[in-house]
């Protein structure tokens, strides 16, 4: 029943697929119930957002925006030689493009507000990244990041100390304490056998890692596999398949609309938009509630190449598609009735020093660690969410290594996939891999790490120096999880999705944004200019005063006796002000003025003091100069002073 006059809306198959029904994010039913992201702010952390474009301007949120490349509040993209800085604007359009404006397209959460943080268009350091992740974090609810380390199949990188601290600070203090939601794209390294477990943004427990599928639901050529991927949503595929239609910038070759947005860059913002819909119906969802709802509601679907595996808690996960396709209807209905999960519990094993050789495939090195009930008593940890393994391994060709983790249930996770392009001789130094495939399973039991060398070196050359296991989860029992699954299925009819039903939702904490009043550089420059101007004129005026005083002191009229001052009120006045208050008009003018006022002039004395000598005449001249073009005849200094200036 939804009809928008946006010219490209019919081509937006990811929103409503008429050609292949069901191959979309299933959002129209949610829109029909007025769930559009109202009251939620999504910030696109990228190369800028052209917020003046028609599709974005009405939803633009300047309070949540900033430009870290130019250090000013306006994140407008700067055209560059490659016509490349349209990325952020396209992502923003996917999230919040305005409907029914007869322009281009419609966003998933077209009722939400969209902000931009421009950070990719220039040199980027850890400190800038840390600032970006917490910028306006009481205004921005969701941070959509469609970028990451190189997807070249040989990079191992991610947020460093500062970036990790900012992500952690964001989930603890962001969004009034409910936690900022960080959505990241899983990576486009598919052609280089890349795996998003070598990307610290994607395998962080604090981020929602989103992969891509094409219109046929398949893993596109560019997509990466990953044990820490939560879910997938739509994006472009190969040439035969449609890409994502969204708003574009209109700078350089841009027309304001594009049909060619693709990559995992296009998938992450769609997920961010769906999370905005969830937060409208339930603003008090914590960052972990959002992750749980994704796990519980993502849908597995038929894809022969996908290695779906169902874990002990009944969740199906595949390295290609995570827990499956995001479905807006399911996400929002689950959010509507979701009560918060228990606090995050964790367990960290000791650092397990092994120093064991890694045999050549098909043999493998296997190390175990048993997590006992006693180990978990302290934290109360019962069921798992993320499982992380930090390893240090030496090997002359890092890409030859394969790391597999088995949870106590036997669920297998390929956490370190071999990478043919990765010939780095430095191995791994405390690199952390993670998996979500054991989500909901019991935490207690024996964890098995299997390391293989699949390279073709003749000798075994790799050594596992040490490893450490970290478990994240909660006190939920397997029964609690099954109960929650049943509860959600009961809500999928949509019977709760109306305004009459709302669970209590705490308002959250008032957390002041730490950054004080920040003077933007422009303001600063203005202040400096005004300051200089003021100083200059003060100095000039003092000089003027001093010179005229000195002249006055040296003029004959005063030398022979007291200076004749016009009769003024007897009130004592400071020396200096007399001059300032002396009228520059001559007595006639003064008389005439008095005549106009009806009263005879009481004195014929010159109202102009006889101090209009050489030096003072300059005052008269200046006065005339300020008065502009109509020049009085050059005054005769000695005669008729009263004819002088007015």
């Amino acid at each position: 029943s939804i009809h928008f006059n946006d010219p490209k809306f019919p081509q937006q198959w990811h929103l409503n697929n008429r050609r292949s029904p069901g191959r979309d994010i299933n959002v129209t039913g949610v829109w029909e119930r007025n769930v559009t992201g109202r009251g939620v702010t999504v910030v696109v952390v990228d190369d800028g957002v052209e917020h003046t474009i028609q599709d974005i301007a009405p939803n633009y949120c300047p309070e949540g925006s900033y430009d870290l490349n130019s250090n000013d509040p306006d994140p407008m993209p700067h055209p560059d030689t490659e016509n490349g800085n349209h990325h952020g604007t396209r992502c923003a359009g996917e999230i919040a493009a305005v409907p029914n404006n007869s322009f281009c397209a419609v966003g998933v959460a077209y009722g939400s507000r969209i902000a931009g943080i421009r950070v990719l268009d220039g040199p980027l350091t850890d400190s800038m990244e840390a600032v970006a992740f917490n910028k306006h974090y009481q205004i921005n609810d969701i941070y959509s990041c469609s970028w990451g380390p190189d997807d070249d199949g040989k990079t191992v990188d991610g947020p460093h100390q500062l970036g990790k601290a900012a992500l952690q600070h964001g989930v603890m203090a962001g969004r009034q304490g409910f936690g900022s939601i960080f959505v990241v794209a899983s990576g486009n390294g598919g052609q280089h056998n890349d795996n998003c477990n070598y990307d610290g943004y994607a395998n962080s427990i604090y981020t929602v890692t989103i992969g891509a599928v094409d219109e046929e639901g398949r893993m596109p050529f560019y997509a990466e596999e990953c044990a820490s991927m939560l879910a997938v949503t739509f994006s472009g595929g190969d040439k035969m398949l449609r890409s994502i239609v969204t708003t574009d910038w209109d700078l350089q070759k841009g027309t304001g609309c594009t049909e060619g947005h693709t990559g995992t860059s296009a998938a992450a913002p769609l997920a961010a938009g769906m999370i905005a819909l969830m937060l409208q119906v339930r603003p008090c969802l914590t960052w972990r509630d959002v992750q749980h709802i994704i796990v519980f509601t993502a849908t597995q679907y038929e894809d022969r190449r996908a290695d779906w595996l169902t874990n002990e808690a009944g969740f199906s996960h595949s390295h290609q598609h995570g827990f499956g396709l995001l479905n807006a209807w399911r996400l929002v209905n689950a959010a509507k009735i979701w009560t918060s999960v228990p606090y995050l519990a964790s367990y960290v094993s000791p650092v397990l020093k092994e120093n064991k050789a890694i045999p050549q495939s098909p043999r493998s090195l296997e190390v175990l660690w048993n997590v006992s009930r006693m180990d978990l008593d302290m934290s109360g940890l019962k069921t798992l969410e993320h499982v992380a393994v930090t390893v240090s391994i030496s090997h002359p060709r890092r890409g030859s290594l394969e790391l597999t983790l088995f949870c106590p249930s036997g669920m297998m996770s390929l956490i370190g996939a071999p990478r043919s392009m990765d010939s780095d001789p430095n191995g791994f130094n405390d690199w952390t891999f993670s998996t979500v495939r054991c989500w909901g399973e019991r935490a207690r039991g024996i964890y098995r790490l299997v390391v293989r060398d699949v390279g073709d070196e003749p000798l075994q050359v790799g050594v596992l120096q040490r490893w450490q296991l970290t478990l994240y989860g909660s006190v939920w029992s397997p029964i609690d999880i099954r109960d929650r699954q049943r509860l959600l299925e009961g809500a999928m009819s949509g019977k709760y999705l109306h305004d009459g039903f709302a669970l209590p939702c705490p308002p959250g904490l008032k957390i002041p944004e730490e950054d004080g009043y920040v003077l933007t550089p422009n303001t600063l420059k203005m202040l400096v200019l005004v300051g200089c101007f003021t100083v200059f004129w003060t100095v000039y005026y003092m000089l003027e005063l001093y010179l005229s005083q000195r002249n006055m002191a040296s003029s004959p009229g005063c030398r022979s006796g007291p200076c004749h001052w016009p009769p003024q009120s007897r009130r004592p006045r400071e020396e200096g002000t007399e001059l300032e208050s002396v009228p520059l008009c001559n007595s006639k003018a003064a008389d005439s003025t008095e005549m106009e006022n009806g009263g005879p002039s009481r004195t014929s004395e010159r109202r102009t003091p006889d101090l209009l000598h050489e030096g003072d005449w300059s005052l008269a001249q200046n006065k005339r100069a300020l008065d502009g073009p109509h020049q009085h005849p050059p005054p005769d200094l000695l005669q008729g002073k009263e004819d002088q200036i007015c």
């Binding site: 990228d46 190369d47 870290l68 490349n69 250090n71 990325h87 990719l120 040199p123 980027l124 350091t125 850890d126 400190s127 800038m128 990244e129 840390a130 600032v131 970006a132 992740f133 917490n134 910028k135 974090y137 469609s146 970028w147 990451g148 380390p149 190189d150 997807d151 990079t155 990188d157 460093h160 100390q161 500062l162 601290a165 900012a166 600070h169 203090a173 794209a185 990576g187 486009n188 990559g263 995992t264 860059s265 992450a268 944004e513 730490e514 950054d515 004080g516 009043y517 920040v518 003077l519 933007t520 550089p521 600063l524 420059k525 400096v528």
Partner: protein, 104 residues
């Protein structure tokens, strides 16, 4: 001036260090930290360019403005590294390097 307005987001292109200071207990933590940051920066021959975003106790120290020969810059880097590594108030420090990030 433009570079050092408010919490810093970027250094002015020269050498810079992110520093995490031990947080003194008690009142006016922020004040103490800022004062201490200035002192540590000065000791290292750097300028405190302000707190890093919302991260309490984290500061960005930058090289004072002005052009330097490579040798001089290297000497400065080593001196700063040595001071920050030894300073009792510094919990952690890291020289800022450019990150390579790609749009996806």
């Amino acid at each position: 001036l433009a570079e050092t307005s408010g919490p810093v987001t970027q250094s002015s292109g020269g050498l810079s260090w992110a520093v995490h200071l031990h947080s003194p207990e008690g009142e006016w933590e922020e004040e103490n930290l800022a004062r201490q940051a200035n002192a540590v920066a000065q000791a290292a021959g750097l300028v405190n360019a302000g707190r890093i975003g919302e991260l309490q106790g984290h500061f960005l120290f930058v090289q004072p403005a002005g052009h330097r020969e490579a040798a001089e810059a290297e000497a400065m880097r080593q001196q700063a590294e040595a001071v920050l590594a030894e300073h009792a108030a510094v919990r952690w420090h890291s020289e800022q390097r450019l990150l390579k990030r790609a749009k996806r």
